[in-house]
């Protein structure tokens, strides 16, 4: 019944918009409509739901469960120890240090990767020669294996033979211990993170910028607004939803930093304690020291931190994100 009412006006040109849209789904003919949608729906969902439950939902509870156990030698003989892993964790200075290190990393990586990416996206968002080539180059680090990226940067940062120190020396500056000075190692690692992710953020911003109608800029130009003014009064407010999205996902990503830390810092590195991240600690306890109970407690801390920060961002977005 509804089908006819919907289908016909759609064919009469020009009146498409007046078609009552109603629900998103099409009403099928027949009395078995409901049943067949139920059967087909669950048939289509089945692989995904089984997979999700086995691979993700159950493991969440297993991780929580495991965090109350002390893992025995060779993974055998788990002993229930209540909140001991958590009390141990809260007294463990290295966990707090790792949390601080992770924050410090994120505080450098996220703002810079976003600001640089926005600037690049704005510069590239015009008809100009070489646009595709620039875009290709900026995105290039995204397609490189993280281990390769970490190794080449480690080589660039090498305090004796690295290219960076050579360049510093050649302009008369002293060498820097990029990744073995505890005070700057986290910045050096964050630079690698920024370099790796700029292209990704830029592509997202370019997509966001293309949604902004050109007439806004034309109108601003007629009013005599400068490029900088246009950026702050048109571009930034209109791209704020993309910015919000990118910053939420980037912060979550940065708080999970692992690859570069694992690859670039040896355990003998004097900056190690001041640079290792929470996820690195999780990896170390869970898989290098086989203390999966303690590893689980650490990953629960990570979950808590990520949830908290995401909720705070959700609350704060009302103040600066413009959804019109």
């Amino acid at each position: 019944m509804k089908r006819a009412g919907l289908a016909w006006p759609a064919f009469s040109n020009g009146h498409v918009k007046e078609v009552p849209m109603g629900e998103k789904t099409v009403q099928y003919k027949g009395t078995n409509q409901k049943r067949s949608e139920f059967i087909w729906g669950w048939l289509f969902l089945l692989p995904t739901m089984i997979g999700l439950i086995i691979l993700n939902i159950i493991p969440i509870f297993q991780t929580i469960y495991q965090s109350f156990f002390k893992t025995g030698a060779f993974g055998k003989g788990n002993v229930f120890i209540g909140f001991d892993n958590y009390t141990k964790m809260f007294q463990d200075a290295s966990v707090w240090q790792a949390l601080l290190n992770t924050f410090k990393y994120a505080i450098v990586e996220v703002p810079f990767s976003i600001i640089i990416a926005i600037v690049l996206a704005v510069l590239l968002n015009r008809k100009m020669r070489g646009r595709t080539i620039y875009r290709t180059i900026y995105f290039l680090p995204m397609v490189a294996a993280p281990a390769a990226v970490a190794m080449v940067w480690r080589w660039l940062y090498n305090s004796e033979f690295g290219l960076l120190n050579h360049l510093l020396n050649s302009i008369g500056l002293k060498s820097v211990n990029w990744i073995s000075n505890p005070n700057i190692a986290y910045i050096s690692i964050a630079v690698v993170g920024i370099w790796s992710v700029i292209g990704y953020n830029m592509v997202l911003f370019l997509a966001g910028l293309q949604e902004i109608p050109r007439d806004y800029y034309e109108a601003a130009e007629i009013d005599g607004a400068s490029g900088v003014k246009q950026f702050f009064h048109i571009t930034l407010p209109l791209i704020s939803p993309t910015m919000f999205f990118v910053s939420v996902t980037r912060i979550i990503g940065a708080l999970q930093v692992f690859d570069t830390i694992y690859m670039m810092l040896d355990k003998t590195n004097p900056a190690f304690a001041k640079t290792q991240s929470l996820v690195y600690l999780f990896y170390k306890y869970s898989f290098l020291e086989s203390n999966k109970g303690y590893g689980s407690a650490i990953v629960m801390l990570l979950l808590l931190v990520i949830m908290l920060i995401t909720v705070i961002q959700m609350i704060c977005q009302k103040k600066w994100v413009n959804y019109n």
């Binding site: 289908a7 510069l123 995105f139 281990a147 390769a148």
Partner: protein
């Protein structure tokens, strides 16, 4: 006015070129170092930028120490397995979520959203124990395992299906298609671009996945490129020409694929990354 505009375009180019140089220097340095001898790579007075002779010794050494054919194959299996599973399951589930109305849909969808909000490290220990219990450590299956289904992909495809006009579905229905046929012949082909986007997204992150391969496949013969490269570093610490040669060999295939399909790559990332 016109002069000013020209000047600003030149300025933009200068900024973009400087940026591009910074982005590309690590790659260039990787290439240059891989063709040097060890002594050249650590020589300071004078500092060597270009190798005096383009030696391929480092490549030969690396190729003799690591079975790259095996590594490429393992990586290919990892990527192909995850992409296939992700696209197949997400297309089906996305259609059900985006186009059908049935009991239990909302609860099921809340599970999908829930998975997307949780950091992935939380799954790793139990997933590892599962694979271990199945006796499947050091297999291709272990590599693919966490990517058998994808909450993110399901979400992406659901959005794609929701954006399609309903007229086509109705026409198919009038022609006597059942829901399965409507999905397979009419609706699924229309979301091809989203499938491609999901495929590229999945492939890229499967290629870049490091912690999971490190954990499950510890034997040289079953590792993908990412973890084999990570293990390599521990083996020859200061031999940078070899490390760079191995890095280059590991990156080249993906870079070539990226340069050929860059349009699809960038559009895929823009649509999938932006709809997360």
């Amino acid at each position: 006015m016109d002069k000013k505009r020209k000047a600003s375009i030149v300025l933009i180019h200068i900024i973009l070129i400087i940026g591009a140089i910074i982005m590309i220097v690590p790659f260039v340095w990787m290439i240059l170092t891989s063709f040097k001898s060890i002594s050249e790579s650590t020589q300071m007075n004078p500092f060597v930028i270009f190798p005096s002779v383009w030696r391929t010794n480092a490549f030969k050494e690396v190729l003799s120490k690591m079975n790259f054919v095996r590594l490429y194959w393992n990586t290919l299996v990892l990527i192909a397995g995850r992409v296939l599973c992700a696209v197949l399951t997400a297309t089906m589930a996305g259609y059900a979520f985006g186009r059908l109305n049935f009991k239990g849909k909302n609860i099921a969808f809340s599970l999908v959203l829930f998975q997307m909000m949780v950091p992935s490290q939380i799954f790793i220990i139990p997933q590892y124990l599962m694979v271990s219990k199945m006796g499947m450590l050091n297999t291709s299956f272990a590599l693919i395992f966490p990517g058998l289904v994808t909450a993110f992909g399901t979400f992406l495809l659901r959005q794609a299906y929701m954006g399609l006009p309903r007229e086509l579905e109705e026409a198919a229905r009038l022609d006597g298609c059942n829901i399965g046929q409507t999905f397979f012949y009419v609706m699924a082909p229309l979301t091809k671009s989203s499938m491609v986007a999901l495929g590229i997204f999945t492939a890229l992150f499967a290629f870049k996945d490091l912690m999971w391969p490190l954990v499950v496949n510890t034997e040289q013969t079953t590792m993908p490129l990412s973890s084999a490269l990570a293990k390599l570093q521990g083996q020859f610490v200061a031999n940078y020409p070899e490390l760079m040669a191995a890095s280059l060999l590991a990156c080249i295939p993906m870079i070539i694929i990226y340069i050929i399909f860059q349009k699809q790559f960038i559009e895929g990332i823009a649509t999938s990354g932006g709809k997360l």
